[in-house]
């Protein structure tokens, strides 16, 4: 039996895969059947009846199974007794669908009329007005007037905050349950639900704080009416007034495609500002979802505290200066200290910025002293060999495939990857998680390996060794069972992070995991689509920083340098002991992050930043850079997809794009005329970095048709996520795709004896930082410093749930909340809501005696 069936919809024949729903089959031939409750990313429920159509199937003789024919030879069709919902009926061969007949029209009219019986019809003030499926479908299919009594409307609450981020208008809700189903089915945060029945049905939130989910913003996109709105955009603008500019999220290595909707604002002095961030469809990256961090952390671009003028220290004070003065000074001082300079970069900068930054040091100053300011995760060189192969799409992983996730909490560190791994598990993929402690992925994992503190590497080494031989009998040892499941998989993707590991340990981890991927069971798990290694980088463009050679030992394109320069740790030491004289910090705040105590014995410190950070306060020159929204550039995701983003708002003050500032410094140190466009810098990158060969701004902007078809005129089908018209990006090919990769040697790591309680810093999506602090809408959700530990450990320390504690790690003291959590393995303390701490540490934990607030009666 073939996998394809042919159906006729309004006289047009279409051949679609078996199992396709009638509504999708029609969509494929641009016949838009109106829907409200159906959404292509959710399971059909058939609740709203908007999609009613006539469906006829060929009649067969009961005895013989022969297709019955009319006199004229045409197939006899059985249209059943009435209309059927196109969103729940699966196509079958020979099916005939009619979507434009009088009964269908009548049904649509009736459904709309019913939906509007209690609708407030406040389109003029509704945020959805203008992009509202209900409005559009009413105009298209509704009656001009209602036969219902206006005074008989049920007036439910119009102003219901579901937490601080999402507002609900119960009168507008048409009870389609898309929001509830999204939260439950797609992201497994069933925190909202229906309450009551009939016309009094209303959405309620079940969580404390309300609508406690990292995904809540997506419900406002798929809600077919204006019932759900974000606190951020509420009454912010009418949709038709917005100018949409394609962008890329800068907050984690997933690199979700977004659209910045901008508009001029009188209260911003007539400037264009970002009114909202919307997902932009990229089925290879984020489909049509983004997490709430990506949606709400954009306010830093317009923050009043942004740096606007170059600052130069004169008589101990930072005073405003002209660009020429500042740049001349920087170039002069860097050259003067040529032999004792170093550069530290942040990993949120674009590829263009990072490339020119390393060019300044390598070619302009002849120094390899360049590194990321905040190194957490190693293995970029390994990823260049055995990274996720180009042409991969995590959406294709399913039964028979395997995903291994090591030392990372994807839900907190890269939410959309968590979602995609979860969905792979639901499609039947084997998911193995290996970590110190349970994470949110454990629920969906087939194998959970919780190693003891300090045993991460030995556990993974054992796993790799076990994976070498295929075992016939199912083993009771969980490690062996996991190894067995992994090695049997058709495709294998491995994620690794740095939770509880030092930088050096992550390097060994990456190599061990590469060896696992290289194990051949038939074919190795490298170099083929949907196979390979994905690093869970700490920031959005750490991958680009590796590619561009912001590394003491690698020039652009992973070319080893003959004399490696100083690593970040050595640079910090050099600053303190005076062996370094000049330091250039770009897009990073090592002082604020506790990596550098002060400016030590530096003679010259230059900081290029958006804000007056702690490091910038100590600088001799502060150069104001532009945020990602004011300029164009490219980022490379953890899947090594190079993606382009565009200029959305005008520059703040006299700030300049990072690449331009660097190009102008480079000119002053004798590297020739500066490039005058980011695209030209990228062209140079494409020449120098072999991996980027053949890419340019035009090829990165290429798009192709995607399924499901969202963002078009028919907003009712996919919601308000934007269509991708500005580029899907390009994944660069790792070495394994064209050559054989040898196994990596991994030195045995010394096992460090660990006594007592071990503390590990764990990630939280909303951890305080320079950028997120600028978005007041998220302030209530920020992760406060908290320790979590098992009951026995807590009791030993005299701690109980809801106590406050004072935790001292590496001589920094935090005041934290205490959560007793039986999920936490004994002997381990999880610390969250604080800046990154590498590896496992010990900590002094002391209970804080706080005066218990007595209820005062009012």
């Amino acid at each position: 039996m073939s996998d394809l069936v042919t159906v006729t919809i309004d006289g047009v024949e279409v051949t679609v895969p078996q199992g396709t729903l009638v509504v999708d089959a029609a969509k494929m031939i641009d016949n838009d059947i109106p829907v409200f409750c159906y959404h292509p990313k959710l399971k059909p429920v058939g609740m709203c009846r908007m999609c009613l159509v006539e469906i006829g199937v060929p009649m067969r003789d009961r005895a013989t199974g022969e297709v019955l024919r009319n006199e004229d030879g045409s197939v006899r069709l059985n249209f059943g007794r009435g209309l059927q919902t196109a969103c729940t009926v699966v196509v079958s061969d020979g099916m005939v669908v009619r979507t434009a007949t009088q009964p269908v029209k009548d049904a649509r009219e009736a459904v709309i009329e019913f939906l509007l019986t209690s609708h407030p019809l406040d389109c003029p003030i509704c945020d959805k007005g203008g992009e509202c499926p209900l409005q559009n479908l009413t105009m298209r299919y509704g009656r001009g007037e209602s036969r219902f009594d206006f005074s008989n409307k049920i007036l439910l609450d119009k102003h219901v905050p579901l937490g601080e981020l999402i507002y609900l208008d119960r009168q507008r809700c048409i009870q389609c349950a898309r929001c509830i189903r999204f939260q439950d089915e797609v992201v497994d945060d069933p925190v909202i639900d229906f309450h009551n029945r009939g016309r009094r049905l209303e959405i309620v939130t079940l969580s404390e704080p309300g609508f406690d989910s990292y995904w809540s913003g997506n419900t406002t996109d798929i809600c077919p009416v204006g019932a759900l709105t974000t606190a951020d955009f509420r009454f912010g603008a009418r949709p038709w007034e917005l100018t949409s500019v394609a962008s890329v999220c800068t907050h984690c290595p997933v690199g979700c495609n977004t659209t910045l909707d901008t508009r001029r604002e009188a209260i911003a002095g007539g400037r264009s500002v970002i009114k909202r961030v919307m997902p932009r469809q990229n089925e290879w990256v984020n489909e049509i979802w983004i997490c709430d961090k990506g949606r709400f952390v954009h306010h830093y671009a317009d923050a009043p505290t942004r740096l606007k003028q170059p600052l130069v220290r004169k008589n101990g004070q930072l005073v405003e200066a002209s660009w020429d003065e500042a740049l001349d000074l920087v170039a002069g001082k860097l050259q003067q200290h040529k032999t004792a300079v170093a550069g530290l970069a942040g990993d949120r900068l674009s590829n263009e910025d990072l490339y020119l930054f390393q060019k300044l040091f390598r070619e302009g100053l002849g120094s390899n002293n360049i590194d990321l300011a905040n190194r957490r995760l190693a293995g970029g060189d390994v990823v260049a060999q055995v990274g996720l192969a180009s042409g991969s799409n995590l959406k294709e992983l399913g039964a028979g495939d395997a995903v291994l996730v090591v030392a990372t909490d994807l839900h907190e560190e890269a939410p959309v990857w968590w979602l995609r791994v979860k969905q792979a598990a639901e499609r039947g993929a084997v998911v193995v998680v290996a970590n110190l402690r349970p994470t949110r992925l454990d629920k969906f994992a087939t194998h959970r390996l919780h190693y003891a503190p300090g045993e991460a590497l030995s556990t993974i080494r054992q796993l790799v060794n076990l994976a070498k031989v295929e075992m016939e009998t199912a083993d009771s040892d969980p490690l062996a069972a996991a190894a067995d499941a992994l090695i049997k998989a058709k495709n294998m993707v491995v994620f690794y992070g740095s939770e509880g590991l030092t930088y050096e340990e992550t390097d060994a981890l990456a190599r061990l995991l590469a060896n696992l991927l290289l194990v051949k069971n038939g074919e190795g798990h490298v170099g083929r689509p949907n196979n390979g290694l994905i690093p869970v980088w700490p920031h959005s463009n750490t991958q680009g920083a590796w590619d561009m050679g912001v590394h003491p030992a690698f020039a652009p394109g992973y070319k080893p340098v003959s004399e490696p320069g100083l690593r970040a740790t050595d640079i910090y030491a050099g600053v303190a002991d005076g062996s370094l004289k000049a330091l250039f910090v770009i897009g990073a705040d090592p002082v604020g992050d506790g990596l550098m105590a002060d400016r030590g014995q530096l003679d010259f410190l230059v900081v290029q930043e958006l804000f007056m950070t702690k490091t910038a306060e100590l600088a001799d020159v502060v150069l104001p850079a532009q945020s990602w929204a004011e300029r164009e550039g490219t980022f490379t995701t953890g899947e090594r997809r190079v993606q382009r983003y565009y200029m959305a708002i005008p520059p703040i003050g006299d700030s300049r794009p990072d690449w331009q500032i660097l190009a102008q410094i480079n000119e002053r140190v004798g590297l020739g005329k500066p490039a005058f466009a980011a695209s030209l810098v990228f062209n140079e990158i494409a020449k120098v970095v072999p991996q980027y060969k053949g890419m340019d701004y035009r090829s990165l902007a290429r798009v192709e048709k995607q399924w499901p078809d969202v963002g078009g005129e028919d907003l009712y089908y996919g919601g308000t996520a934007h269509e991708n018209r500005s580029g899907l990006g390009q994944q660069w090919a790792c070495v394994a795709e064209s050559a054989t990769v040898e196994r990596f040697d991994v030195a045995e790591q010394p096992v460090i004896a660990r006594d007592g309680l071990q503390l590990v810093r764990v990630a939280a999506l909303y951890t305080s930082g320079t950028l997120i602090e600028q978005s007041p809408v998220l302030h209530h959700r920020m992760a406060r410093p908290t320790i979590q530990l098992a009951h026995a450990d807590a009791t030993a320390l005299g701690l109980a749930d809801d106590d406050r504690a004072e935790v001292t790690v590496n001589s920094v003291t935090y005041e934290t909340a205490v959560r007793v959590n039986e999920q936490v393995p004994a002997g381990l303390v999880l610390l969250s809501g604080v800046p990154y701490i590498a590896g496992l540490t010990t900590a002094q934990i002391r209970k804080l005696e706080t005066a218990v607030a007595q209820p005062t009666g009012d």
């Binding site: 407030p120 406040d122 003029p124 003030i125 007005g129 007036l155 119009k158 102003h159 509420r234 009454f235 912010g236 603008a237 009418r238 038709w240 007034e241 001029r264 604002e265 009188a266 209260i267």
Partner: protein, 166 residues
């Protein structure tokens, strides 16, 4: 020939005796017609609340792109208009406006009305932009200025019951 001259002079003298038609503007102003379209006004309800709900439909309808609206949310402590939304910023650029009245037609609350004032002159372009304060009519007798502090839940309808347009 004499007759012709006399005829002409007769007409002249006849008009000399008639009352003059020149209107002594600006001392004297001629009343405008019922459907005259002059400078816009933003209306208020009798209790002083603004009729404008900041929906920007006038801006959308305007063929000259003369109107700019920025909305914000009402609270019961600071209420400008009934319902949830009001115009925090409302500007009309009178140099752009072609006085077509489309904004009036688009307005769901009859908040914007083109009134009688045709005396628009400016020394510079910036002063041709009329802000909300300049467009809003004075608070009617017995009404309160906006923002008002009102009892919670009183104005939950965005577009309150209104008399039919006349």
């Amino acid at each position: 020939m004499i007759t012709e001259i006399l005829k002409g002079m007769f007409t002249t003298f006849k008009h000399l005796l008639q009352p003059p038609v020149t209107i002594q503007y600006p001392e004297v102003k001629r009343p405008v017609r019922y459907r005259f379209k002059g400078r816009h006004e933003l209306k208020r309800y009798d209790n002083g609340l603004e009729k404008c709900i900041g929906c920007a439909l006038c801006a959308a309808a305007c063929p000259a792109d003369a109107i700019f609206v920025e909305a914000a949310e009402n609270t019961d402590d600071e209420r400008y208009s009934p319902g949830e939304r009001y115009a925090r910023v409302y500007e009309i650029n009178m140099l752009r406006c072609i006085f077509c009245g489309f904004c009036e037609d688009a307005c769901p609350t009859e908040a914007i009305v083109l009134e009688d004032n045709y005396e628009l002159s400016f020394y510079d372009r910036a002063s041709a932009i009329y802000t909300k304060e300049m467009l809003l009519v004075p608070v009617p007798p017995g009404g309160q200025p906006t923002p008002q502090k009102v009892e919670p839940g009183k104005y939950d309808r965005a577009i309150p019951e209104m008399e039919d347009p006349k």
